[in-house]
Amino acid sequence: MAALTWLLLVPVLAALLCALPLRSGRLAGRVTIIASLAEFLLAADVVRSVLRFGEIESLRGFLVADSLSAVIVLLVTFVALTAGLFSYGYILQHREAHDGARRVEAYFVLYNLFVASMLAAPLLAHLTLVWIAIELTTLMSAYLVAYVDTPEALEAAWKYVILTSAGAVIGLFGFLLLYWGTQTGGEVPFTWQGLLEGASRIPGAIVWLGFLLSLVGFGTKVGLVPLHTWLPDAHSQAPAPICALLSGIETTTVLYMLMRLFPVLEASHVANQSAWFCSVGLLSVAVAAFVLVRVHDYKRMFAASTVEHMGIIMVAVGLGGFPAHFAAIYQIAAHTLTKSLCFFAAGAVLLVTGTQEVAKVRGLMSRSPAAAMALLLGGLGIAGAPPFAVFISEFFIFRAAVLSKHYIVVGLLAVFVVMAFCAITFHITGMVFGPPGEFNGHDSPAVCNWAIAIAFVPVLILGFYLPPFLQSLFEGAARALGK
């Protein structure tokens, strides 16, 4: 399937085009949007082929895709498209005068490379190369996090690269141990499929140590508590469209690696993998819920909510069984789509108000209805209010947990999710309603509002209707999480 190859080539070519010394940030922005659109269409084609053939490959098995990787690829390209549109307004119209065309060009070059690395991670077959793709996501986004060049942004960028790179090195150790296992345990290829097939023959101690190191290593990048400390910093200091990519999809792309290890552990019978996934997940949800209550910065609020949702997905994966895994996939899609919307809304609010402090933003509705509506819908959506996507996916998770009689997990999860819901809605309503404050900013450019509108469509639709092709795709992905 040539679509897989093109999916990686298009963003790299776009990056090369943006790198041409034309001194025109506008051109680089347009190239990025066109490339993102092409990537989204290619991803749709990949989904179509995966639904027809189950698993597809390209470049003689060098690239592979099944339903689970297709879900990730589809989400990456959708967020890349909306964030590309938002960048066009946010970075170009807001910052070009301030930054100069060369920095804007550099932004779009790295934007495309960042997207390429996130597409490579779920598509590459050999796991050592997957690791390199994950490391590249950090390296390509480092400058994007530091883009606004304030002391805070630089501090955030430093914490981000040093901690997630250290995590990635530990994850590499885990991967090399697993590779060792595939060699000693019957010469299976070092791919997800090979690991799964060889899992029962690989010595249990190696699988176990390999998983633990991967959990610590990649858990750092996912933002699992207690390795999450860098995440609210980086995800709040980067420009809004980059936050949407970091929080919305980069975390999920790395979490995907841990999810792939779940059936491997299940097949090797080495430990109680469900208990591990559930307890790590619950700890993240709990800590994030408490952080959300006393958060003072609305971008940090959405970042903390990412930690919460990563925890929820871990729990859903850990519950095991098809209904819970289907809910986990639904939750991944719902979180990615809603979180990117939230950060676009946060970017629009920042343009209007010029501050990230929750307490200083009041009565946004009368000052800028567009930004206020975006914030309200995004905030309610991510908190889990009906009729939006996160409500349905969380409902599925609770239902699966009750059906499989995990009552303690349900109880704890419900307490923390409700706590997070109240915290987010409290902060959001305070910002949106009430007497207007004095703001010296301006409304966001029209193209940003378009990006917000496009991002909102699936958040709403997935709240009450799952199209049949997505239904089959999610079901296939859920089956990939079982052994």
Partner: protein
Amino acid sequence: MTVPGSVQTLVGWDALASALFLLVSLAIVATRQMLATLRLFVIQSLLLAVSATAIGIGTHSVHLLVVAGIVIATKVISVPWVLKITVGGEIYGRREIDQALTIPTSLILAAGLVFFGFFISERLFLTISVPEFTILNLPVGIACVLLGMFTVTVRREAIAQLMGLLVMENAVFFAGAAIASHLPTLAEIAAAVDLPIMTLVFGLLIRQIHRKLGTTRVGELSALGER
């Protein structure tokens, strides 16, 4: 391929490299000079290349000889060079680095980490039988990953933290040379590209931090966080 010397001699060379590798990692924890840290890292990378060569000849793995070449090209030559052009002599010249703990305290904790690394490997060796190279390299690798992490945690200076990260990566490769000696060439080439990019990104970020904040003591930055 003709094997120069018996396998036992090669194990002896690898044992020497492992011991020195561990010592150099401890020295990186203990040293106070910025430039000395960089030099120790280069020595450590050379030891990694020695170990990879010994295992490569011992197990007839051409891949590991390629790895040894890549290690010398990237870690011994390109990393110090990239750091020099991005960060500049002014920043990583002859000066002292401070850290959160005193040197003696650090060394005691570091010794504990080394014991822990060997303990984990011994537990692993109880359950599976492994070749001699792995018995040497895996515990040293695990111990030095922990030492590198420790360096990242306690150092306040950006470049010293970066060195800790590079020590971690060296350590993973050191263990990997024994346990993953037949990785495809593609992975090696990719790793060869990855490391200079990593150094470049870190170097540019350190330069930007120095330009904006006038210091590279990243451990003291604390504008962010929950109030």
